[in-house]
Amino acid sequence: MSDEIVGEKASPTSGMPEPEKTKAPEDRGERALREIVSGDIGVSVLAFVLALLIGGLLIAFTNPDVTAAAHYFFAKPMDTITAAWNAVWDAYAAMFRGAVYNGQADTFQKAIRPLTETMTVATPLIIAALGVAVGFRAGLFNIGAQGQIILGATVGGYIGFTYSLPAGVHLLLALLGGVLGGAIWAGIAGVLKARTGAHEVIVTIMLNYVALYLLAYLLTTDKFTRAGSNQPTSPGVKETAQLPLLLGDWSRLHAGFIVAILASIFVWWLMTRSVLGFRFRAVGSNPHASRTAGIGIPTTIVLVMLVSGALAGLAGGVHILGTEHQLTGGIAGSLGFDAITVALLGRSRPLGIFFAGLLYGGLNVGGRVMEAATGTPIDIVLVIQALVVLFIAAPPLVRAIFRLPTPRTAVAKGAAA
């Protein structure tokens, strides 16, 4: 892990002010530690801790027991504090039970099912966030992951429920269809940007709407609806095209999780080990210099969008072939926008995204149990997610709160030591 982060930092990156890397060999453990404490990873973790704290305050303030006790706060202050502590503890304990390990379950399978559920929910998020991150690192804000996921799910799903093919081939074709759907959708924005300079943010946002209404239209046609029904839901994806379950019937965890791992490794290889990835990053950090160096900017832009969209499309395909198994108007949910958050939280690095995706998935899954068991509104989870992004967008704020040294001084100290 530390290897990877350090290796990545040494290479040129987009916009972020990066500390000057010392060429002199340095103790690896020391460097990794410094990265974790003062670097981006540390900020991400602390941002999450802060968000949990504020979320806890909200839980306490909105809890009926706490409100009741607060009426006589000055007569018996401990009542309020105990009630608040209990409310927050119960809520977060329920969240942990729902997301990681359920100590109250009677069998081992039931106890770890929450963890597998977190992995299941994280799967499409991770893959889509990888796509968004490829764009970020090349300096392109692909806000269109939502539309690309919809297209990926539509094409992948269509192949999945329409054709009858042998097991392995069917699944591969459906996934490939998803990849193509997403790539073409993002490619439109890429070509427009490369040819006419149309801003990719605007084009991709607009294409989200086009994708949404295209899907809504398709779901009124005979090819996409079930025979003899006018409900806007497609037939079920055939079993030959479904991603196989990894652990058996008791868990929803499917082979898409392996796809997510492979996709993370692929993006790591692409961005740090391949010539194409070097071009992407070069264009991202300095397009003018890249042009002077002989990198074709328009071609690179189109390629970045194709890769970015292909990953988002793959996420859509995995989503429908893995868990949903049928196409509906809301198939993408808020995946495409959550993916942007996950990409930010993971600092656009594959490993970071992988864990950020798991964290996000865990918050979603745990939030459900929190709501069901303690009555805490699931909106608290949304607030926590939003706060995480807010704090990550403002690293100086987090550093100020925890009195961390700024990266530059940390480097200076490190060099001095």
């Binding site: 018996k76 729902g98 037939p235």
Partner: protein, 370 residues
């Protein structure tokens, strides 16, 4: 230092002031308060669709029904709000994990998830609003532990259409929907057919804008959230001469109220027919423009099924709300009571009786499959 003293003095003052406000309850009282008389171990749970429980429409009606049952029967409840469609199955699963005796799922989008969960958890009872349990291919499956709660709203909106045609001065009425789904278009089918019935009886030619029940296509705003779209669409209808409008779009109908209000201020006379709940009760400010409402008693149906289940009397017979069992109906006219001619009222009542008796057949392609 100065600041600290100030803060201390201020908080002291506040503490004194607040200490007078509330006194702590006796310890015994707090422990005794939880044990209500007639409290039961029965647990009823509900999973919303992606509209959420505060949609001023069917999720909210169902939620109110559940809360009513909670306070009436002293049972335990739990709710899970779905933020997106991929939440459905896991939310139902969570409820099963919370040891719910009865799980109510709201909306046809949960049909497949409910079917799957009911087959996997035969000890738990389920009820689904607006649908039947379905398998992966969308075929209705009858299960011993699932009770479908559907509503043949076409019957009530047929009356609304007839009434609207009779009340229209311009000879044009209109309807639109949020999203083109059966539970929405069923209202629009009834409305259009009711207008046609009026024309047939009275030899008039009242036009309906916004929906073609034969071709099954018409005007939709595209979601159940954006009121401004409802307002724009309504303005278009008013410009085309419509003076009675039926929005079938949940909260989006608020835009229609705003548009009608503006038009009336400008000297027109536009009225609105609300849907699902009694619009005058949910929008008291607009009682002067709400002619009536097409009621869909989801809350009552939910309350009934919870009550039956809590007494161990759960059955899987499909419930279909009709005019006959008062699961659907027209709301009172409220402010319009004096403006609706007595003849028209009598005709609507007669029509209602004819539909109940079966002498007038009212159906829609979207009617609940029994």
């Amino acid at each position: 230092m100065k600041n600290i003293i100030r803060v201390a003095a201020l908080s002291g003052a506040v503490a004194l002031a607040l200490a007078a406000c509330g006194s702590a309850p006796e310890d015994e009282a707090t422990s005794g308060a939880t044990g209500d008389a007639g409290a039961s171990d029965f647990k009823a749970c509900m999973v919303s669709d992606s509209g959420g429980f505060n949609d001023k429409s069917f999720n909210e009606s169902g939620y109110n029904g559940l809360k009513q049952a909670e306070s009436d029967l002293g049972i335990k409840t739990a709710t899970a709000e779905s933020k997106q469609e991929s939440d459905f199955a896991p939310n139902i699963d969570t409820m099963v994990g919370q040891n719910c005796n009865l799980i109510i799922t709201v909306g046809f989008l949960l049909a497949t998830a409910t079917g799957d969960a009911a087959q996997a958890n035969t000890d738990t009872n389920f009820a689904i609003v607006d649908s039947t349990a379905q398998d992966a291919d969308g075929n209705t499956i009858e299960l011993p532990n699932v009770k479908p709660l559907s509503f043949n709203t076409v019957e009530a909106s047929y009356l609304a259409g007839y009434l609207a045609a009779g009340m229209s001065k311009t000879g044009t009425v209109a309807t639109y929907g949020g999203i083109q789904i059966p539970t929405v278009t069923i209202f629009m089918d009834g409305f259009v057919d009711g207008v046609a019935k009026y024309n047939e009886v009275h030899g008039t030619s009242v036009k309906t804008l916004g929906w073609d029940s034969k071709a099954q296509n018409g005007s939709f705003t595209g979601d159940f959230e954006d009121q401004s779209k409802g307002q724009q669409l309504t303005n278009t209808f008013i410009d085309q001469g419509a003076d009675i409008i039926l929005p079938v779009a949940g909260p989006v109908g608020g835009g229609t109220l705003a548009a009608a209000h503006d038009a009336n201020t400008a000297g027109k006379s536009v009225a609105v027919i609300w849907v699902d709940s009694d619009g005058v009760e949910t929008n008291p400010d607009s009682s002067d423009i709400i002619l009536t409402s097409v009621l869909k008693e989801i809350g009552t149906a939910v309350n009934d099924v919870v009550t039956a289940a809590s007494k161990d009397e759960f059955d899987n017979t499909a419930y279909v709300g009709t005019l006959k069992n008062e699961g659907v109906g027209l709301a009172p006219f409220h402010d319009f009571d004096s403006k609706v001619p007595a003849d028209l009222k009598a005709e609507v009542d007669k029509l209602k009786q004819d539909i109940i008796d079966g002498t007038v057949k009212v159906t829609s392609p979207s009617s609940p499959q029994s």
